[in-house]
Amino acid sequence: MELFEAIILSVLAASTPLLIAATGELVTERAGVLNLGVEGMMIVGAACGFGGALLTGSTTVGAICGIAAGTALSLVFALMTLGLAVNQVATGLALTILGIGLSGLIGAGFVGERITPAPQLYIPGLTDIPILGRILFGEDGFVYASLLMVVGVWLFLYRTRSGLIIRAVGDNHVSAHALGYPVLKIRLGAVMFGGACAGLAGAYLPLAYTPFFVPGMTAGRGWIALALVVFSSWRPGRLVIGAYLFGAVTILQLHAQGWGVGIPSQFMSALPYLATVIVLVLISRARAGGSTAPAALGTVFVPDR
């Protein structure tokens, strides 16, 4: 039972950065923008987040630094793709390469340093309930934030006018422009939200997941987050399922390595990546003949004046 509790806790922890980053990218893509720079924004968020916490001793400040870093990088992306109508795929790749380099520079001095990890919730009585107690009431702020964020995004997209406008812009930016909506401004907002989320997700890694920083610690999570958005058919509810499934696969293969299953560790480590490929194939196949992607996703928009 204790093992069960430990597994659930570690699945939650592994899924959280995926969920946060994917939620942000979901909003961005719903507005019609494909930002492949999630990995770059996450990794810069990790470096800056750790740095912030190291300097001030507060993981909250670290989280804010992570958010700021992700947002700043997303602004560069927005300037290129929205301001200069540059191809979104190429820009996203450039952003990732730049982000990896920047995070290496910024984080150069952080290797070997330690901080106190983000505090976990403790409500006397509730948190002490066996098994469920720690799972429900003993998580750190990031986990709760991730769930609140998903719910918030769902409400926003489907129950508010602004959310409707974002969905409209992602469906047909020409129509939205003809109706008088500021397409570029709306997309800018969506991109920045995506950047903030990616930065926060990246910051989670050295602030709560592990209390130290390692270059390249995101290890492709940003790319998995992108795959999750596709997997979720751009719906927040399904995103939660996808994120936790992936977290489970990651934890499963870690534990399997410990169980001495006889399969080389590298094969187990490759499981999440292989799973991503398989999932992408299955989900695209299921949708064959009619994609549910936002219709204007990835297309360039230069308004007439």
Binding site: L164, A168, D171, N172, A176, A178, L179
Partner: protein, 544 residues
């Protein structure tokens, strides 16, 4: 007495529809109706050195349906976009109810009481009707209330809509209803309609006219943009005619003939297209046998039991409102989609149902699709490369896998010369040509391959009258030389002018072709709306 005028210094009657009563009693002029509802003074829009609109004055009064006439490129859309706040005028002034008006965007126009139903719908396919309408309103009304009001307004005007349906499921006519109802829900004093009947059957158009007459009776003003002269004569009280960005004249359409209106629009007598006397038809060149096509796209139309036989020397027209399977039929005929049976499509005696488009071209077929940029040509590639696009199959442009630039350029030069293609340099990018010139190039490059079968879709859509005449003449000449020509068009006038027989597409079915001389507008309209010939004959028998 005629209200026809060529110069602009005349005083317009206060209420055009009450012109005769005013004539008899000049003192009956209503002092409250001194100022027009909307007035533009010297409105100009400049793009670089190009004047899209040049110092236009127009007056719109309440309780009138005011036509805005002009051919493609005359400046109608530009003028109207300024009135609706979508673009800013370079010079000039607009006045609303006498007071100066500047608009930062369409929402401000809507707030003043100006509504617009544009030619290209501003709809979102994957959202519901209610969501689409909500996006066109200012959002102060709660969604549920707005949804209920939407249904009510739609029913009141005879344009029923289901708020919960997703737009991609709706037909073109139904989508236009959304645009109209959306505009009406804001209780506009002034409604602009841009080419509203381009996508309607004649019967749907009649329905629309009833709605417009009702709106006029309610005291609203309507600006009706069209190039369909018979319609304008039927419906509109006043007409302002634009040509080359300038206002050429104002008149009362009822007092004009279609020919006089056309002359004002084009500025010269329109060249009559001449059909060769006594066209001989030869062997069947294109035969379609019971063609069925499944959907390859949920938004598409299934083709059912399509059969036709087209002989050399004849032109067969296919009429129909957009969205009834014309694009699917084009894909099946061209080979962009393969048929189930090779025998379903026969070109010049060869079974072609399984052949690729390249093989069909080798058999002597040629194709001109509806969409010029992105389908008929690659927009950012040069004309020579676009000549290679369809010419690589059989025109000596490719030897041993290598491309022959000289042959490609030769095609461009010949097409330019024979079809009068106006361009800025010898080999420009396709996207830099105007619609009419690009269409002339596209039609020209196909005709230069001396095809025995030509399948062309919407040959003069969005093309100026001069280019349209050139293209139609080219089609007639090609048929006269013995080729079989299949023309799909939404323009019944065009089909009546050049075809020998007309068939109608509806919901993926093709009617039996009628001889063009027997095909009245009414008959065609009924077929476009879904009646079948046996039904109509039965009705005739009963009714007559």
């Amino acid at each position: 007495m005629s209200y026809l005028t060529q110069n602009l210094d005349v005083v317009l009657p206060r209420r055009p529809s009450d012109a005769w009563s005013q004539m008899s009693n000049p003192m009956s002029i209503d002092p409250q109706r001194q100022t027009p509802l909307l007035q533009t003074i010297g409105l100009t829009k400049r793009y670089g050195t190009f004047l899209a609109t040049d110092s236009i004055d127009i007056d719109i009064w309440p309780r009138e349906i005011h036509a805005l006439l002009g051919e493609n490129g005359a400046g109608k859309s530009t003028l109207v976009k300024k009135i609706y706040g979508l673009i800013q005028p370079s010079e000039g002034e607009m006045r609303w109810q006498g007071k100066p008006m500047t608009l930062a965007g369409p929402s401000e126009a809507r707030a003043l009481g100006i509504g617009m139903v544009s030619q290209h719908f501003s709809l979102f396919d994957n959202l519901t009707v209610a969501e689409n309408v909500a996006l066109g309103l200012d959002g102060k009304e709660p969604f549920k209330d707005m949804s209920a009001r939407l249904e009510e307004v739609a029913n009141v005007y005879g344009l029923p809509l289901d708020p919960k349906r997703e737009v991609w499921r709706l037909s073109v006519g139904e989508r236009q209803r959304i645009e109209i109802v959306r505009a009406l829900m804001q209780d506009p004093k002034f409604l602009i309609l841009d080419e509203p009947t381009a996508v309607l059957t004649p019967q749907e158009a009649d329905q629309l006219f009833i709605v417009l007459e009702r709106l006029k009776a309610e005291g609203r003003a309507i600006l009706y943009i069209s190039h369909k002269l018979e319609e304008v004569k039927r419906l509109c009280d006043t007409a302002t005619i634009l040509r080359g960005g300038k206002r050429i004249s104002i008149c009362v359409p009822r007092n004009e003939t279609a020919a006089s209106l056309a002359r004002m629009m084009v500025g010269a007598d329109v060249k009559e297209v001449k059909a060769a006397a006594g066209r001989r038809t030869t062997v069947p060149r294109l035969v379609v046998n019971d063609l069925n096509m499944e959907l390859d796209d949920p938004h598409g139309v299934r083709l059912e039991h399509i059969s036709l036989e087209l002989k050399g020397g004849e032109i067969l027209g296919i009429a129909g409102v957009a969205g009834n399977g014309q694009n699917e039929l084009f894909s099946a005929l061209s080979g962009e989609r393969l048929a189930k049976d090779p025998g379903m499509i026969v070109i010049d005696g060869h079974e072609a149902g399984h052949l690729s488009i390249t093989s069909r071209r080798k058999l002597g077929a040629a194709f001109v699709p509806e969409e010029r940029l992105g389908h008929g040509t690659v927009p950012r590639m040069k004309l020579s490369e676009n000549a290679l696009l369809t010419g690589h199959a059989a025109s000596g442009m490719v030897q041993h896998g290598f491309v022959n630039m000289a042959a490609m350029l030769a095609t461009v030069d010949r097409a330019t010369e024979i079809f009068d293609v106006r361009k800025a340099k010898r080999d420009p990018e396709a996207a830099s040509l105007s619609g009419g010139n690009l269409q002339k190039f596209i039609v020209g490059r196909e005709i230069l391959r001396n095809p025995t079968v030509l399948v062309v879709s919407q040959p003069t859509w969005g093309v100026d009258a001069g280019a349209a005449a050139v293209i139609r003449q080219a089609l007639l000449d090609l048929a006269a030389s013995g080729a079989a020509v299949l023309v799909t068009s939404q323009d019944l006038d065009e089909l009546t002018e050049i075809t020998d027989r007309i068939a109608v597409m509806f919901h993926g079915h093709l009617s039996e072709p009628l001889a063009t001389s027997d095909a009245s507008r009414e008959k065609l309209g009924l077929l476009m709306g879904g009646s079948t010939l046996p039904q109509m004959e039965a009705n005739d028998a009963v009714g007559a």
